[in-house]
């Protein structure tokens, strides 16, 4: 999993039916110091409480869909937690 910051939302009215009801957020992936690093991804909200500006962690690949109520959906990144604190030694 990687750290990310939610920088926006995506709305798509026309979409494959399996994606109905899933909230999509634009997430800038971050390095461990919470600085932008790498790509921005569209991630499904796997915790149903995520809003713009929040620090989150994101799971990728097949496991992302398993954060959804129906685990057989075409989702490749999902937010699976909101970060309260990162403490580095």
């Amino acid at each position: 999993m990687k750290l990310g910051k939610v920088i926006g939302t995506v709305v798509a009215t026309e979409k494959t039916p399996d994606l109905e009801g899933i909230k999509f957020l634009i997430v800038q992936l971050l390095d461990k110091h919470q600085q932008p690093a790498g790509e921005t991804v569209v991630a499904a909200d796997g915790v149903h409480m995520v809003g713009p500006g929040e620090l989150v962690y994101v799971v990728g690949s097949r496991e992302a869909a398993q954060a959804m109520p129906n685990p057989f959906v075409p989702v490749d990144h999902a937010i699976v937690g909101i970060v309260d604190e990162v403490s580095l030694a």
């Binding site: 999993m1 390095d31 409480m49 097949r62 496991e63 954060a67 937690g81 580095l88």
Partner: protein, 89 residues
């Protein structure tokens, strides 16, 4: 699996249920010699690893789910061992 070193912890109250009660470790990925590659991964702890420990990191979903005893869960990266020694011959 990957080799890394525990660099810190991530605290999260709101998360997918599979992460409830699990310690999340932010691990620097390293070469076999222990040099940081510059990349990192957030992985759930399974062996009570601590900051500074060199660790073995699993990053594959079905193996991870087998270890945590779930058939469907958005979990992929686990710290599965504390490395005593790497011998490169």
């Amino acid at each position: 699996m990957k080799i890394g070193r525990v660099a810190g912890t991530v605290v999260s109250t709101i998360s997918a249920p599979i992460f409830d009660g699990r310690k999340l470790l932010l691990c620097d990925l390293t070469t076999p010699d222990g040099d940081p590659t510059g990349d990192y991964i957030i992985a759930a702890d399974t062996i009570d690893a601590g900051v500074g420990d060199p660790v073995l990191i699993l990053d594959e979903g079905s193996s991870a789910r087998q270890i945590v005893g779930e058939t469907v869960a958005p979990i992929r990266a686990l710290v599965v061992g504390i490395i005593d020694e790497v011998d490169l011959g």
